[in-house]
């Protein structure tokens, strides 16, 4: 259950993620190996906002098409693009224009020509049925008020036999209502 209506939640999240700035690497360093970070532009590292390393568990193979649901500044999209190589493709999808632009810029800075970025909703993925081999996502599903819809859309765009690797935060015990009602908690 969410205390926020769908559009209200989107507005809070777009605002928070559009404005976020960082000059540290604490999040990235908590999840990614130094040799992975060495390949990435500083901006992608500093704006890593995920909660795990879904690429590590995705078993990506050269030539595969990967979709990053809620790509943010692109750290996982870029790592996926390196893993699938020039014959493959990594598609970053984000509803926040500033984040989509950051991923484009970071892919270009990393010299990756196999990254494609789309602006759109993870509840309405702008891709055809059965067009993706692997879907990844990092700390994004919890931001949606329609999680089952996101998963159904993910299933739709995956090819038969396609895989998903998703990092997220889950509760073991309920949070107090005052936390659940907080826009700051929603955006995080």
């Amino acid at each position: 259950m969410s205390y926020f209506r769908e559009e209200e939640a989107r507005s809070i999240i777009r605002d928070a993620y559009g404005k976020v700035r960082s000059d540290g690497a604490a999040v990235a360093e908590a999840f990614y190996a130094p040799e992975e970070l060495d390949r990435l532009p500083r901006g992608a590292i500093e704006l890593a906002l995920g909660v795990g390393h879904p690429v590590r568990h995705a078993g990506l193979q050269p030539g595969e098409v990967v979709l990053d649901l809620g790509c943010g500044a692109g750290i996982d999209t870029l790592l996926a693009a390196f893993a699938v190589g020039p014959q493959g493709r990594a598609i970053g999808l984000d509803m926040t224009p500033e984040m989509a632009e950051r991923t484009r810029r970071h892919a270009s800075a990393a010299g990756l020509a196999n990254v494609e970025v789309r602006e759109g909703l993870i509840e309405e993925i702008p891709l055809p049925d059965a067009s993706v081999d692997v879907a990844i996502s990092n700390g994004v599903l919890n931001l949606s008020t329609r999680k089952s819809r996101v998963l159904a859309e993910t299933l739709r765009v995956l090819r038969p036999g396609g895989r998903v690797s998703l990092s997220d935060l889950v509760l073991s015990e309920a949070l107090p209502e005052e936390v659940l009602k907080s826009p700051a908690a929603l955006a995080g």
């Binding site: 906002l49 568990h57 073991s172 700051a184």
Partner: protein
């Protein structure tokens, strides 16, 4: 709950491949959270949950070949 959602929409081979506690110190790494918000959480959350507010997990699953 999350795994059930994966199952209900039709995913197969659903597995939790990582599960780690995520506490206030972890949240403090994120530029999304202000000091005021972290202080608010520290106040409203019982002390025994400060190191385990939530869990970070990685879930993997597969679309059935005959779907």
């Amino acid at each position: 709950m999350l795994l059930k959602k994966f199952f209900n929409v039709g995913f197969a081979d659903i597995a939790v491949v990582e599960r780690k506690p995520f506490g206030l110190k972890d949240l403090a790494r994120y530029p999304l959270f202000t000091k005021e918000f972290l202080d608010f959480l520290a106040t409203v959350m019982p002390a025994h949950r400060h190191e385990e507010l939530v869990f970070s997990i990685v879930v993997t699953a597969r679309k059935r070949t005959a779907c």
